[in-house]
């Protein structure tokens, strides 16, 4: 059961990293417009 004591912090840190990445993505505007970018190449 010692494995839990190692895996739990690892899981939490990983979760924290993904939450951080998500916050970074939101702040840098990557979720602002989910509709236009896929169609933009068709307009050029």
């Amino acid at each position: 059961m010692r494995a839990v004591l190692i895996l739990l912090p690892v899981a939490l840190v990983l979760g924290g990293v993904f939450a951080g990445l998500f916050i970074y993505a939101v702040r840098s505007g990557q979720f602002d417009d989910l509709d236009d970018p896929p169609e933009r190449m068709l307009h050029d």
């Binding site: 059961m1 916050i23 979720f31």
Partner: protein, 732 residues
């Protein structure tokens, strides 16, 4: 007295928040310099903004108070329904960026009128954190439930998992869920109770109970808490996104009014901002330009498209002495205009301002918000009764049952039912060409029983087309007109192309402004000239005359759409300023139930108001500034996207594609959405009643809650997701 209390509270909060967020003007500093500011002769400056995030009437009131009390501000008005804000201030004492900063400091989001609302990064971050925590807390809770089930979990591990769960739930409850607490607190303070109150109550009870359970090694509901917050925030995000897309599309359609004009001073021309023009100035206007001010033609002649004011497509000839208004377009010719009114004094501006005032109908709270106080009261009553009846059985059991009642009563599914279904309906309508401004307007659309349509530009395409002419005549006329950019030329050349007539090539073509065009076609000299309303005459060398009749053609889908609207049980009415005879003919063609002719703009609005007075729910669709009063007066006002900017501004929705069919699709989507809201509300209320009964009986433990509560929300999401499918099935 009450006003004083609210004012005190509002201003207190203002100062508290200003410390927390020192000057947070959005968009970035400097962007406010781009907002058009009009300077009045008395030296004050005026600008218009939109403020996002105003949830209640008191928010509007507090914003107005704070702005009015700012030194240097002469007047501040905020519209409840649209968030449109008009500011008048003394430029030497304050500036727009400072005022915008003040609004931002109150916690609302100011933006320029032409700009779409900024995406809510804050809400997204809160929802994202809750989602990550949901995934993580599932791991620990599953371990705890499994340990309980098999009864062989090491108490040390159980404690560790409980504390990890608490660590995951704490930021979600305290930070992610903060908007619900803030909303509930604002509601309480201003005595406008809405759905945030029972939600905040539920979250608070869940969290406090969870903390106690963790400390005392008992069973908590922290997993349910995290999941509920994630679902609720997700629902809010969807709602905000639907609204933002509609607003962006609407602002993209709003045309820009010219901001500069060419003023002639002596024998020189200078380009000046419109705000610097004064009555008596002379300005030059060329073909294709929009007029920047009201005035009288001093020199020159030409034809003006007055559709903005009259709604009629046909160009109006002007000559020295003609009165002319800002916002109309000079189609051909060249004019020098003596300015009589600028800015706020112009006819168009005065009309637009009246419209803005008229469009401020009250924003009604949703059905869910109306039952919120009852809901909260009944929940607390049920919890108190549970506590009282179970008191004898032991305090621990009684408290745990009462907490279970409060927990399962959290109206998550109920709170989601309205925004999700409204967002689904908004999306379904938008994909079919009708952009509606808000979920509330979308659901209003479902209750409509009278559809009133404007004629020009709505039922008809609002463009001149040839209604009758011989092929040979058309061939010659098109040969003369092929070089011109005039609406009559477009109509003739377009019709010739549509009939597959090989165009001849005119030579020595001369266009005389306001009179007609002449030239050689196939070696013969022809002249094409206007010969009365809706007619042009082709005159040959020998004096032979041929008539070309022009008209405003029906939209291709008008007849089919009106038929389908009637099939939905709606009464269709044609409202027009045109003559009885023309109106009857068009009404007969498209098959409307009723036609009312010879209505001026104000009378259209009156007609709509009268119909509402008789208990009808009226949808009005029109274009042009002249339809503005009716659009503003209707329960749901829809502007045709090709119409005037001001009618788009006051409308609840905009038809973005070329046709009437989006109206039909919008009503179908609204009805499907409203049905989904009703079904979801009925379902979630039934769920809440059953769950509260079960909790009072002591049958609900954290595991049951963790399964039941998300299930009810998923059922509501599923109900909303069927809106699109239902609309698709109806349309095909």
């Amino acid at each position: 007295m009450a006003a004083e209390i609210i004012l005190g509270a509002g201003l207190e909060r203002y100062y508290a928040e200003r410390k927390a967020f020192p000057a947070r003007p959005e968009p970035a500093d400097g962007a406010w310099d781009l907002v058009p500011v009009e300077t009045s002769p008395d030296g004050t400056a005026t600008a218009r903004l939109v403020v996002d995030g105003l949830r209640c009437a008191s928010c509007v009131w507090v914003t107005e108070e704070v702005l009015s009390r700012t030194p240097g501000v002469r007047a501040a008005t905020v519209s409840y329904a649209t968030g449109r804000t008009t500011l008048r201030w003394e430029p030497e004492r304050t500036d727009l960026a400072t005022l915008a900063g003040r609004i931002a400091a109150l916690g609302y989001r100011p933006r320029a009128l032409g700009e779409g609302p900024s995406p809510d990064h804050d809400l997204m971050t809160r929802a994202g954190l809750a989602a990550v925590a949901t995934v993580a807390i599932m791991g620990t809770s599953e371990a705890l439930y499994a340990g309980q089930w098999f009864g062989s979990m090491d108490p040390a591990f159980a404690a560790l998992f409980r504390w990890v769960s608490l660590a995951l739930a704490t930021p979600v409850a305290l930070w992610s869920a903060a908007p619900f607490f803030r909303g509930a607190w604002n509601g309480l303070r201003h005595r406008v109770l809405h759905m945030d109150l029972p939600i905040a109550l539920g979250i608070a009870v869940l969290y406090v109970h969870g903390v106690v359970a963790t400390v005392t090694a008992g069973e908590g509901y922290l997993d349910s808490l995290v999941m509920l917050v994630a679902l609720l925030l997700g629902g809010r995000m969807l709602e905000a996104r639907g609204r933002r897309r509609a607003a962006e599309a609407a602002t993209a359609l709003v045309a820009t009014i010219p901001r500069t004009a060419r003023r002639s001073v002596g024998d020189r021309l200078e380009t000046v901002p419109v705000g610097d023009l004064r009555p008596g100035d002379l300005i030059d206007v060329g073909a294709g330009e929009e007029l920047a001010a009201d005035g009288m033609v001093a020199e020159g002649s030409g034809q003006v498209r007055m559709a903005l004011v009259t709604g009629e497509a046909e160009p109006v000839p002007v000559e020295p002495g003609s009165r002319i208004v800002a916002g109309t377009v000079l189609l051909d010719g060249a004019l020098t205009i003596r300015v009589s009114a600028v800015g706020e004094a112009t006819v168009v501006h005065a009309m637009a301002l009246q419209l803005h005032a008229a469009a401020d109908r009250a924003l009604e709270p949703t059905a869910a918000d109306r039952i919120a106080p009852w809901f909260t009261g009944l929940t607390i009553l049920a919890a108190a009764l549970t506590l009282a009846f179970r008191w004898e059985a032991g305090i621990a059991g009684a408290v745990s049952c009462a907490v279970a009642v409060l927990v399962v009563a959290c109206p998550c599914a109920l709170a989601l039912s309205h925004p999700l279904a409204a967002a689904a309906a908004l999306g379904a309508a938008a994909r079919r060409g009708l952009l509606v401004r808000s979920g509330a307007a979308m659901l209003d659309l479902a209750t409509v029983d009278v559809v009133a349509l404007d004629k020009t530009g709505t039922v008809t395409a609002g463009e001149l087309t040839v209604s009758s002419a011989d092929d040979a005549v058309l061939r010659v006329a098109a040969g003369l007109e092929r070089y011109s950019n005039h609406p009559v030329a477009h109509a003739i050349v377009g019709e010739a192309s549509a009939r597959n007539i090989a165009l001849s090539r005119g030579s020595d073509v001369r266009e005389r402004v306001g009179v007609g065009v002449s030239g050689l076609v196939d070696g013969l000299r022809w002249e094409l000239r206007s010969s009365g309303p809706g007619e042009v005459k082709l005159v040959g060398e020998g004096g032979d005359e041929h008539l070309i009749r022009l008209g405003d053609a029906l939209r291709a889908d008008a007849v089919a759409t009106v038929g389908r609207l009637k099939a939905l049980g709606l009464r269709t009415v044609l409202l027009t300023g045109d003559h009885e005879e023309i109106a009857r003919r068009i009404a007969g063609d498209i098959g409307v139930d009723e036609v009312v002719a010879r209505l001026d703009p104000a009378a259209k609005g009156e007609w709509v108001r009268a119909a509402r007075g008789r208990g009808h729910r009226v949808l009005f669709a029109g274009d042009g500034l002249n339809d503005g009063p009716a659009i503003a007066a209707a329960d749901v006002g829809i502007a045709m996207g090709t119409g005037a900017a001001s009618s788009v501004l006051v409308a609840d929705g905009v038809v973005s594609s070329n046709g009437l069919a989006p109206l039909l699709a919008g009503i179908r989507a609204a009805r499907a959405g409203a049905a989904a809201v009703r079904a979801n509300q009925a379902f979630s209320l039934a769920y809440n009643v059953l769950a509260v009964t079960a909790a009072a009986a002591g049958w609900v433990n954290p595991l049951v809650a963790a399964v039941l509560m998300p299930l009810s929300s998923v059922a509501v999401i599923w109900g909303a997701s069927r809106v699109e499918a239902k609309v698709r099935r109806d349309v095909t």
